[in-house]
Amino acid sequence: MAVFESDPVLSESDPVLKVVDLAKDYPITRGILFRKQIGTVSAVDGISFELPRAQTLAIVGESGCGKSTVGRLLVGLERPTRGSVFVDGVDLATLSPKALLAKRRDIQIVLQDPYTSLDPRSTVRKIIGEPFDIHPSALPKGKTKKAMVGELMDRVGLNPEFANRYPHQFSGGQRQRIGIARALALRPKIIIADEPVSALDVSIQAQVMNLLMDLRDDFGLSYVFVSHDLSVVRQIADRVLVMYLGRLAEIGSEPQIFEHSTHPYTQALLSAVPVPDPQHQRERESITLGGDLPSPAAPPSACRFHTRCWKAQEICSIETPLPRQLLGEGHLVACHFAEERSMIGTAAGGGDQAQRREP
């Protein structure tokens, strides 16, 4: 059953989402009535990217690197300190509150934890139907809210008969499907998926990932897929943005990042991905980063990664490396000493596998 007729937007070449120099600072304040700012947490600092239609951009990085904040900035849950977000070429900051509310229909979010993102006191019908209460114009003509909820449930693989049940009566994967149906209701162009499968069992993860990819293909959706799980990212992403402490480390297409990574941080992340072959796992290089993620309230000077980087030299703490193109088209890296290094599944690694496959 088709919920919506998917329109062929693929021919349009303009990016559906364009982010320029996005930044978010959180003030650290003291006092209740008379707030005094005593510091700043720089959660996101100067992130720029473009998202072509019907494609998926993955944002990866370790906990606290600001990747979820980027997602929240995009759906308008937070106000950016600096920078612009263009949806379909329209700068969201220039819109009136009313126009912004209408524009929000185009960009929806699926949250990480399906156990807390659904109101425990609402039925599934109320949860999936709420988008139509807020945006009555989103309801297709001649269709009731009830019918739409049923179609949406069916589309995400839930039995519409369960519409009167409460979230706690569903399993984690089913709840995440409810969350996806809610995000899908307004027929957005972009869905921000904030670690949508990291709270789920691995077997359920695959089902939900398949659902997300099916929906992308059916409705021409574009995803911003925030995740720390590189194997999940590799499954879905067309482009990958690696963040470290609020800044862009490296951005490129999926093969560019996974097979031709040039930033030391990207390489360290990739080296931590488990490899199924025990022999290969033992033999391959492993990069272990020393220390913890520095506090974003007092980030290191210039290149924020220099405190943990094995390549760091004096210049890294003096001059901020700007994103530059080193290898292919659209592959940007922010590092003074960027150089290609194969971490997984290329050259030697891939060759090994190929040999073993043919006894």
Binding site: L10, I32, L33, P52, R72, V75, R104, Q108, I109, L111, S117, L118, D119, P120, R121, S122, T123, E130, D133, I134, H135, D154, G157, L158, N159, F162, R165, H168, Q169, F170, S171, G173, Q174, L186, V202, S203, Q205, A206, Q207, M209, N210, L211, M213, S231, V232, R234, Q235, R239, S253, E254, P255, F258, P274, V275, P276, D277, I344, G345, G349, Q353
Partner: protein, 348 residues
């Protein structure tokens, strides 16, 4: 855009339940990928059907609305049943007193009270005896239930309504609104109920039960407000509130549709327990001569007038006091049961 898709991994193998990571290095050729597309689609369809037809456990199928949830917990509790029997009985008496006694017996104006029957002990004619005006204590007790309960019900309803509204606003908006409202709450919290009530009721005269209700609401809303403020702060930080905000929901929608239903549980408990407390408070004010005034009477005024003759005729005090105590106890036990039923930590 095809250049981006060329590197994409298909996931058909994942549906077999293998860990995602196992697939990372699987270098599937593009041709093989295309060949397996049909198979993948089939697997996905089957999987969607499986997910759709997945049966939910019937035993766990129970409602999760605030009231449905509470009812499920409550009906398995003996204390709930004992207290509800008492409460239903008292409510029946309060609503239909004429079914239990004759109103004429309560007033000397209608000739029902007779000085000849001055302080008669309980007998077959006067079940609870008579008071110093020769009125039937049983009839007085029956007709005294309505004002007592009315004060308790109205006062606790208004208390929770006012307190919840202010608590939700303070907790939801935070900042200076919260700071101002919380200081007001602190000021009212500092006013002693009894002293404040005596001052107000002495200074202003109200008709019927409204003086006592006014005092109880004005001095009593703060505890509900404090409670709802803290539960609101907890609820507004939940992900489902963020999800509603991302959909574009207005503040008032979030506040009334999502935060309040999840924040009001504890204040319902306060209301039920408060009901008993307010009935007692009404009796206290009436005992002090500040509550109901003649010709209105309640259990409180009866206890008040009985104190003069307690040693001669203890029944004049014991019967209304017994009804009062039993009613308060029933409401407090009910409050306890409701409180446990609504406790989110007990929810599975």
């Amino acid at each position: 855009m095809s250049e981006f898709f060329s590197g994409r991994r298909e996931t058909e193998a994942l549906t077999d339940g293998e860990p995602v990571t196992d697939q990372l290095l699987d270098q599937v050729g593009e041709d093989a990928e295309r060949d397996s597309q049909a198979l993948a689609d089939q697997v996905r369809r089957q999987e969607a059907e499986a997910a759709a037809s997945e049966q939910l456990p019937v035993s766990g199928a129970r409602p999760r609305s605030l009231l449905g949830d509470a009812w499920y917990e409550l009906r398995h509790r003996p204390i709930f049943w004992v207290s509800s029997v008492v409460i239903v009985a008292v409510l029946a008496i309060a609503i239909f007193p004429n079914a239990f006694a004759d109103v004429d017996e309560t007033s000397s104006l209608t000739g029902g009270c007779n000085f000849d029957n001055y302080l008669q002990p309980p007998s077959s004619q006067f079940w609870f005896g008579t008071d110093q005006l020769g009125c039937d204590v049983y009839s007085l007790t029956i007709f005294g239930a309505r004002p007592s309960l009315a004060v308790g019900l109205i006062a606790s309803l208004l208390t929770v309504a006012l307190g919840s509204a202010i608590g939700v606003i303070a907790g939801f908006y935070g900042g200076w609104i919260d700071a101002v409202l919380s200081r007001i709450v602190d000021i009212f919290f500092g006013l002693p109920l009894l002293l404040g009530g005596i001052v107000v009721l002495t200074a202003i005269s109200f008709p019927s039960i409204w003086g006592v209700v006014f005092v109880l609401v004005v001095l009593g809303w703060v505890s509900a407000a404090r409670l709802v403020r803290s539960t609101t702060i907890e609820a507004k930080g939940q992900d489902y509130v963020m999800a509603a905000r991302a959909l574009g929901a207005s503040n008032s929608r979030i506040m009334w549709r999502h935060v309040l239903p999840n924040a009001i549980g504890p204040s319902i408990v306060v209301a039920v327990i408060g009901l008993g407390v307010y009935i007692g408070a009404e009796a206290t004010f009436s005992y002090l001569g500040l509550g109901l005034q003649d010709p209105d009477f309640s259990w409180g005024t009866m206890i008040s007038s009985a104190q003069e003759v307690f040693f001669q005729a203890p029944w004049t005090l014991l019967f209304p006091a017994g009804f009062l105590t039993l009613t308060i106890l029933a409401f407090i036990l009910m409050g306890d049961a409701v409180s446990e039923a609504l406790d989110p930590k007990r929810q599975k």
